[in-house]
Every structure is written in C-alpha cells, then in structure tokens.
C-alpha cells in the first residue's frame, strides 16, 4: 500500500499538534478509580505537576500503587515496578 506523500505530511503535522497537546496532559494510572482529593494531594507533592489537569486511567496490571505520566516523563510508584526491580536485583546478585 502506498501512502500519498502529501497526506503523510498532513498526518505528520496533525500528529505533532496532537503530541504537543498530549504533553501538557497528566495521566494517572491506578488499579481502582481515585477520588479527586487523593489525586490532587498526590500531584501537589511535585512542583511541576501542582494544580494541573489530569485524567485517571484504570490499569489492573499494576497490582497496586500509581503511575503518573506527563509528556515523555514517568513517575512509577506501582507495585509491579517494585517487584520488577526486586527481581532484577536478585538476578544481578545471583
């Protein structure tokens, strides 16, 4: 399948605009829906995130804890991540 180059260029521009707006968004991943107060107190701990708008996404594979994502940055506070790090430590010291 060949894509029209002009169309490709247009799509790329749209994509970049989309990415830029996406960067401003904060996404909080958690195992169960979080109350508004819970999330804002969580975001208040980080100067960069204080008072920003957010969306809450449910991801049960985290087992516990939360992941905060903004732009290309991520703060991983999930149980899954902790277990993975633990596994790695054991593997490396073995």
């Amino acid at each position: 399948m060949k894509i029209n180059p002009q169309l490709k260029e247009e799509l790329k521009k749209r994509m970049q605009v989309f990415v830029r707006t996406e960067k401003e968004k904060v996404t909080v991943y958690s195992v169960y829906p979080l109350a508004a107060g819970e999330v804002s107190s969580l975001l208040a701990a980080n100067d960069e995130l204080k008072g920003r708008e957010y969306s809450n996404v449910i991801d049960t594979s985290l087992i516990g804890g939360v992941i905060i994502r903004f732009g290309s940055k991520i703060i991983d506070l999930s149980l899954k991540h902790l277990l993975q790090t633990f596994q790695k430590t054991i593997h490396e010291t073995h």
Binding site: Q16, V19, K23, G71, S72, K73, I74
Partner: protein
Amino acid sequence: MKLIDDYLKEIEKDLNKSAISVNTEEIGFVDEVRDGVVLVTGLDNVTFGEVVEFNSGAKGYIIDLMEDRAGVVVLGDYLHIRSGERVKALNYTLSVPVSEEILGRVVDPLCTPQDNLPTIKMDKMYPVEKIAPTVVYRKSVTVPLQTGVKAIDALTPIGRGQRELIIGDRGTGKTTIALDTIINQKGQNVICIYCGIGQKNSKMALVVDLLRRNNALEYTVVVNAPAADAAALQYIAPYSASAIAEYFMDKGKDVLVIYDDLSKHAWAYRQISLILRRPAGREAYPGDIFYLHSRLLERSCRIDEKYGGGSITALPIVETLEGDVSAYIPTNIISITDGQIFLETDLFNAGVRPAINIGISVSRVGGNAQTKAMKQVAGKLKLDLAQYREMAAFSQFESDLDEETKKLLNRGAKVTQILKQDKNKPYSLGEEIVVLWAAHKGFLDTVGVNDVEKFEKKLIEIVRRKGHDVTSIILKEKIISPETEHKLEKLVKEVV
C-alpha cells in the same frame, strides 16, 4: 566478632530507611525497528550518546536526534525488540567498567568477559567517547617503542605515543607485525590492547592462543567484536579499547593499542549511517567518516610528566584492495597518522618477509625517539637501500657495470636479505644493533646471498652466548663508541 545486637541494630536501621525513592524517568516507545537501529518516539529530554534500556532487556545508545524521534543503536541482540515497546533512558553516557583485573582477559566492547573466566571486578567507569587531551597536557614523542622487527626499528622507528599505520593487502602479514610487537613488549613495562573489529572468530582464537603461548597474554587485553556481532558493537569496539587504554594511561603507564582493522570499522559505521538515512558521500561513506577515525586516533598521545605521564601508542591496521592506497579510507587514515608501514604482496611472495616496502614507508616522529646507537647504524642503511633500488631498476638492461655500481648492488642485496625476519621471533634492541652493524660495516659483502640467513643465525647465537657484555654496554651508553666497535668486530669475525 560482632554481637547479635549489632546485627539487629543494622537491620533496624535498614528497616527505618524509606524503601521507595521517587524518581522521574524519561520514557519513549519503539516506532520502527531496522537492522540493528531502532527509532523511538518520546524520549524528549535525552542527550546524544545516552544509554537507553528496552523493556525486553536489551540496551542501546542514542546516535541520532531528530525533531520527533531518536535513533538508537542496539548493543547486542535486537531480534526481540517489538514496535510499541517501552524504552527507558538511563541517564548516563555509554561507559565501560575497567580495572587492573582486565589484563589477560578477552572481553567484548562492553567489557563483558568472553573467555569463561570469573567476572571482572570493576574499579572505575570510563566513557567510551572522550575528547582527546589538549596541547597543554601533551609532550612530544621521545621514548622508543621497540617492535622487535629489525626493518621497522631501523627504518621506520616508532615512539611511545605515536600513531603508526600498518597498511597492506590481505595476507601480507599486517597482524603478524602487530602481534610481534605485542610479544616484544615483555618486560618493557608496556600494557598492550589488541582490538579485533569484524574479524573471524577463528582468527581471534589463534591470536589469543599465540599470545598465551608466548606469555604475552598476562599484560594484554583482547577486545573482540567479531564479524558475527552487530554493527553497533563493531562500531564502538575501538572506542572501548581506547577507554581501557586511557584507564592505564591515567595511571602513568605506557599503553600500546592495536586496531585490527579500521576498514571494517568504517564498513560498520557506513552500515549504521545508511540505515539512519544519512546522506552518503564518496564510496557511500557518510560525511563524518574522517572525524570517526580522527577523534579515535587523536586519543593516542604522550602525557607530560607534570600531568601524570603515561602514553598511548596506536597501531591502526588498514586493509587495501589490490594495493590501492588512494582509496577513501586508506588516504584518510594515512593523513591522520604519524606515518605508515606499507606491506606489499609482491614482496611477500618473493620471500621478503616482513614484506615492508621501505621506499614508501615513513615514520614522521619516530626518528626523535630512536636510540643513538640505532641511528648510527640505520642512517647508512637507509642510504644504501635507496641507492640500491635506483640502481637495481636500470642495471637490468646493462650488461657491463662499473665496480662502484656492482658494489652498491651487492651491498643492497645483502641489506635486503638481512632485514628479513621469521615471524613471532622478535629481536632485542642489542641483537638488532649487532646484526645491522655487521651489515653496515660491510661484513656481509663477501657472504653469498643465500648464506646471509645462516650468517645471521650464527651471529645471533654467538651474541646470545658471549656477546652479553657488548650489548649491555651499547644499551647503557646508547651509542657505539670506538672501543665497542672493536669488540663487535671481534664477535662478527668469529662468524666470518
């Protein structure tokens, strides 16, 4: 002995520490997987050369930064990487772990052992890419590095901190010269690094075996990125070898690095560049192919004693096709290095081994490092050979030659004979000087061309048996005095 209470206290202290540390990570997602190169979206805040880790465990490092994407070369196996996979930036530039323990080992470009021996304990991390020391820290080359090959030590001498290119077609003995040099460094307080780039693994096994048999492995590190490895590993191999060399140089030691060979290194880089769609130039090499080698070879230098001393001598190897030195990569590296040793197939097949073409081999800085005694004997030798070559060319047409010309031809033939040398049998400086002195004084003029080898063998035997005091005097005085000449004459006359 610790009491149980002490242990309990320690455990309590550990428990009181906050177990979770909050840190922000930079992530991206795999967009495209090409041959050994991966394009990643996201990773907005990474730097050039930063190491990233894929979710599947592989590591890579950033070699290209575009508007919306980053190009990552994968170090190792890239077959498990899927598009859409998460990539994490690790916040450090590519470095290799180094320590004294690395001596005598065979490692890959990331310093992971390849020889089934225990892991190497790390002392420091050294960056793979580093800017070479500036003028202030440098010192000119004055200390010789003896290769143990008569022809090189006499005619194209190498000094510690020099970069001397070994160039020639396949099968002309390039690696042999490099390995002989490593073997000859025994007891010379020089650390050697042999970096194989894109070589056959069978050849590397032979190299390691040869070094081990000659007890040279104990002061040598072998960095191996064989032809089967990913282009990325072949690309970083010489820089890793350089990083290991810098670790020892920073300790004030003299290091010898052999890059075998840089034409294959250029091929690996060309592959990566073409996959990244960088504009191709001459012979399809990218525009920065010169900088690729100049930044590598600039890292060899001699550091002033004020700043800790130490040196890195580089012997890069380049393979030519059909003796064509005017190809792109050979001309580039010839212009970067401080001279070249040119090996020729015709000479090799004619039995002149090492097959060095003395006419076009040069050493631009090594002369200052040559010992005075060697200079005394080598100066005349060079002249004899130059005249011989000139005469030999047109004496083929003329039948009757005058005495003077005949004498020149005879001398030249004998000198060419005496510069031949068996492989893996390096000579000590004293032995070299005695042999060349005999040729220089005309003791070989009466010996038949085919008997020169026998003469040399006998002379070496006598020197090893009872010439020890003479050679030690030469090495001590660094010059051949008339009294020493008298003693040498006595030794040589025993053979004649």
